[in-house]
């Protein structure tokens, strides 16, 4: 048979074949309609005028600068939010305390804030009439319409990913294993490194992947605080929009496909890690 579906494990719940088939077919149809088709459009548009043009559009100086800025932004935002996520998940998942739900909700909030508003928040803080203008001016810092503003806005937008990904997972796992380790005399760090981390590594990885993807793809908030100066404060998503607005559709989609490839890189790392572990 060309197309076959089977259970991955021969243990635990094993639905009958017809059910598996149905489930997979439904999933694939859903994905095809909502995910695959738009992606196909982006990639066909990107390569419509050939590899050479694709390469040209992503290797011109402005695109390269945008790429650099995007990578820099992700390089700051992702580690910062990962460390925060680990700390937050630890105290939220392993402990019950007054105000816990409020903190969880506050962590969710950046998701619900429209990117436009997120950008506006930083304008309210650091803009020409912003509340923190006195401080930044005395330090001679240009936050908004410059690289720091872009990084801050991205950190705000991607803030919840790792924390939320881990909180659910760690809550579900409970803390018996950690308690056992501690009662056997392990230190707090040892417990974390050897007991907690191996258990949550997939969740952590997904969190980082999502955070990274979003950090690189963020458009709305960054577009408010960037100032759109070509070759200076344009990230890849903004560069894609500019190209699109120049009727340069192929180049715009080429840049978008580059972003998709960058996101895939993290996934390749993930599967390499998976394979290593199996050996």
């Amino acid at each position: 048979m060309l197309f076959f579906v089977q259970n991955k494990y021969n243990k635990g719940l094993m639905p009958p074949a017809w059910l598996n088939w149905t489930l997979v077919v439904i999933s694939l149809t859903f994905l095809a309609v909502f995910l695959l088709l738009p992606l196909v459009i982006i990639f066909t548009e990107a390569f419509r005028q050939g590899m050479t043009l694709w390469w040209q559009s992503i290797s011109e100086p402005e695109a390269l600068h945008a790429l650099k800025l995007t990578l820099l932004t992700a390089a700051v935002a992702v580690p910062a939010n990962t460390i925060f996520g680990l700390a937050a998940a630890w105290c939220l998942a392993k402990f019950r305390f007054f105000g816990r739900n409020i903190i969880i909700t506050l962590i969710d909030l950046p998701f619900a804030v429209s990117p436009i508003i997120a950008g506006m928040l930083f304008v309210l803080l650091f803009g020409a009439r912003g509340y923190l203008r006195g401080i930044t001016d005395s330090l001679d810092l240009q936050i908004i319409f410059a690289v720091p503003g872009i990084i801050l806005a991205t950190m705000f937008i991607t803030f919840p990913f790792v924390a939320r990904e881990l909180t659910g997972l760690m809550t579900q796992q409970g803390s018996q294993a950690e308690q056992a380790a501690l009662s056997l005399g392990a230190s707090g760090w040892q417990t974390f490194w050897h007991i907690t981390l191996p258990d949550i590594k997939w969740g952590l990885l997904y969190g980082i992947i999502l955070c990274n993807a979003r950090a690189m793809g963020e458009f709305g908030a960054v577009s408010v605080v960037s100032g759109h100066i070509r070759g200076k404060t344009n990230t890849l998503p903004l560069h894609a929009e500019i190209l699109y607005n120049e009727y340069n559709f192929s180049a715009a989609f080429a840049v978008a496909s580059l972003l998709a490839f960058l996101a895939l890189v993290t996934l390749v790392i993930k599967s390499i890690a998976e394979r290593r572990k199996k050996r």
């Binding site: 489930l23 859903f30 937050a88 619900a112 436009i116 308690q179 979003r214 458009f219 709305g220 890849l236």
Partner: protein
């Protein structure tokens, strides 16, 4: 009974991690939100009220919350299904699909909006056959829902997937061994364990949908009173230099979202507690 700030727990690191969380949260989230509050406080109450209670604003709230909710529900159902297929079955192309799930995040929202419109517009690949059936997708609330499904899907899949992967299959074995049917094992053993993360995924997708702007404006048609989302209305206020109106709408939106999210989170804690 003595009031307790936190329940007794032998695990270390509570003070440290909580302190870190609160400081970081304060600097990156609360400080900007305080700026929004400060700026909203500069309005008088009637000004604030008239900004958020205009007919257009109320219609846009209804549209935004309605479409976000529907899209999040669809994402939750299909997200669970997809996560199940990806983590419990093997079939050709599984790895590729697994890799693709996150792509909507990496794409600039404007580009996904353009691509979606290309698919669902009356001259698009899917839009054309649908139009012949008399179903208009692009430039209607259905289009908005589709854009939201795309941007929210990774949330559900990626929160449920690790939980399904780490689920102890011994539990299922035990249930099956005790004579439970497949369906009973799923609904009584697996589903309750997945439920907290499913709710998390729903919350995240819902929250993200509420704020989505970039992809929606391309496919929505943006007709006032019909397909105008709140984020667009905020932008509209900004365009006419009406910072106060924009701030009012933004903070109203934020308060409603906060209350909704808090309710869902409380529900989740409650459902988690009931399990034990």
């Amino acid at each position: 009974m003595k009031y307790q700030f936190k329940q007794y727990n032998i695990l270390p690191g509570f003070g440290l991690t909580l302190g870190y969380t609160v400081v970081y949260l304060g600097l990156l989230v609360l400080l900007p939100l305080a700026a929004l509050t400060l700026s909203a406080l500069q309005m008088t109450w009637p000004e604030f009220w008239s900004a958020i209670s205009s007919q257009r604003a109320i219609r846009s709230f209804a549209l935004t919350f309605g479409t976000s909710f529907i899209a999040a529900v669809i994402n939750t159902i299909f997200g669970l299904l997809i996560a199940w297929c990806l983590s419990r079955m093997s079939f050709p192309g599984r790895k590729i699909i697994d890799a693709m799930i996150d792509l909507p995040f990496a794409l600039p929202t404007a580009i996904s909006g353009i691509a979606l419109t290309a698919v669902y517009a009356p001259n698009g690949i899917l839009g054309e056959p649908l139009a012949r059936l008399g179903i208009k997708v692009a430039y209607t609330p259905i289009g908005i829902i589709i854009a939201m499904i795309l941007v929210g899907l990774p949330f559900v899949v990626r929160t449920v997937q690790p939980v399904l992967a780490e689920l102890e299959r011994e539990l299922e074995e035990a249930a099956l061994g005790l004579g439970a049917s497949n369906w009973q094992t799923f609904s009584k053993v697996i589903f309750p364990l997945v439920l907290p993360s499913l709710l998390t995924g729903f919350t995240l997708a819902f929250a993200r949908n509420l704020g989505e702007y970039g992809s929606v404006v391309f496919i929505a048609g943006n007709m006032p009173m019909k397909t105008e989302i709140t984020s667009l209305l905020i932008v509209t206020h900004l365009e006419q230099y009406d910072y106060a109106g924009a701030t009012a709408l933004a903070s109203a939106m934020l308060i409603i979202s906060f209350v909704l999210l808090l309710t869902i989170n409380l529900l989740q804690t409650w459902s988690g507690r009931r399990l034990k």
